[in-house]
Amino acid sequence: MPRLRFHCRHQFPSGFILDAEFEASDGVTGLCGPSGSGKTTTLGIIAGTLRPRQGIVQLGDRVLLDTARGVRLPPERRRVGCVFQDLRLFPHLTVEQNMRYGLNRRPARKIDFSRVVEILELHDVLGRSPRTLSGGQQQRTALARAVLQGPELLLLDEPLTALDAGLKERIVVYLERMLAELRIPTVFVSHDLADVRRLAEQVILLEAGRVVREDKGSGTDFGRE
């Protein structure tokens, strides 16, 4: 059984139509495509922050969304962790309080707080306000917060886009370390195929709201052509 099954159709007020269907297995799935292709929309539908008119989203044996049957789990019951492109750290909480936010609610699986702090090297900033952190530290805090809720699926929306080359390299190392150790199935969105190829075992290419190509297995060749 695939980890994630996604099939949705929705027309937005802007006229943009998302009509995509794909399956993602365990491991890291890259969702790639140019700006406006529907990547972030797809993540929003999986996370439950967007409501498509028609669609099915299934995570393992759990149905998160099935519009035909009137099933629409709210985001807090989906057990899907998100690292948003704009990070969305809570400015009135410290780094540690941000990280524990999901951990203190209903984690699907208990993940060791100290281990995550260690992997992401966040010891020194736990008591600080997110506003005082560097871009890389904020990125790692957002990643830690999403992972600590013990999600069944992790969604990463363009986590490397706004970073300079040096910082991107360091964050990729943290990401690889984290994903390898915690083994959380992940959907990784990027418009940069090189980033996707580096992290993902399966790649799905979106264009204008449709899946135009899927490549399963580690030998992801497209983009090299």
Binding site: T49, P75, E76, D86, F90, H92, R106, Q149
Partner: protein, 229 residues
């Protein structure tokens, strides 16, 4: 500039009335401000008009309506008297009720502004982290809107301290049971009252000015905070 016993009583009563008015209207203010800030629905413009009406109505009209509704023969007055043995009209509670209604639009306006400035994406983020709608409201929205909510309360408090028109129609107006504005009005009607009212005038200006200053500072801080977020 010493105060007489009656004047101290007026200051004490005004503070009590203003605090009760704020506490009474805060839950409704929060609920309506949230509704106006976060939801689109049919009749929203009518609801907004109703909430803001006390701002533009002559206060004596508000007092008249309260008198009709909460008086012995009014439908709310009869209900409260029959079921709870509660009589509001011509007691200090009527002053609190009048103040709450007159100050309500200021409170809702300030809280609504504060709630609107909270980024909904942060609320969505909290939801994906396992927080339900009330949990999100309690842990994200309200703390981020805190300064605006406090500013709204302070504004309502200051407005309550100055309330006169509606209060004089429905509140008790005997010695020792008058709020500051009522006591000033009463003093002015007696010989030498202009001199004797001065202390209360200054007290009233001082309370209102301090409250407004606190409200202004908190509102600015709230806007800066949401801009930084």
């Amino acid at each position: 500039m010493g105060f007489t016993v009656e004047q101290w009583q007026a200051i004490g009563l005004s503070l009590r009335v203003a605090i009760v008015a704020v506490l009474l209207s805060l839950p409704f203010g929060l609920a309506l401000a949230w509704l106006l800030a976060r939801r689109q629905f049919r009749g929203k413009a009518i609801l907004e008009t109703m909430i803001n009406l006390p701002l533009v109505l002559p206060p004596v009209v508000t007092g008249y309506l309260l008198l009709v509704a909460f008086g012995r023969n009014g439908w709310i007055g009869q209900f409260l008297d029959r079921w709870f043995g509660l009589q509001i009209i011509f007691t200090w509670k009527a002053a609190a009720l009048a103040s709450a209604i007159v100050a309500f639009p200021l409170m809702v306006r300030s809280i609504r502004l504060a709630l609107s400035s909270v980024d909904v994406h942060l609320e969505q983020s909290a939801r994906t982290l396992g927080a339900g709608p009330f949990d999100t409201l309690w842990t994200i929205t309200l703390p981020l809107a805190r300064n605006g909510i406090i500013a709204g309360c302070v504004l309502a408090f200051a407005r309550s301290i100055g309330e006169f028109g509606a209060t004089i129609m429905i509140s008790e107006n005997t010695q020792g049971s008058r709020t500051i504005p009522l006591e000033i009005y009463n003093l002015l009607e007696s010989p030498g009252g202009v001199q004797r009212a001065q202390g209360l005038v200054f007290a009233s200006i001082a309370i209102a000015a301090v409250a407004m200053l606190i409200g202004e500072i908190l509102e600015r801080r709230g806007l800066q905070r949401s801009a930084a977020a």
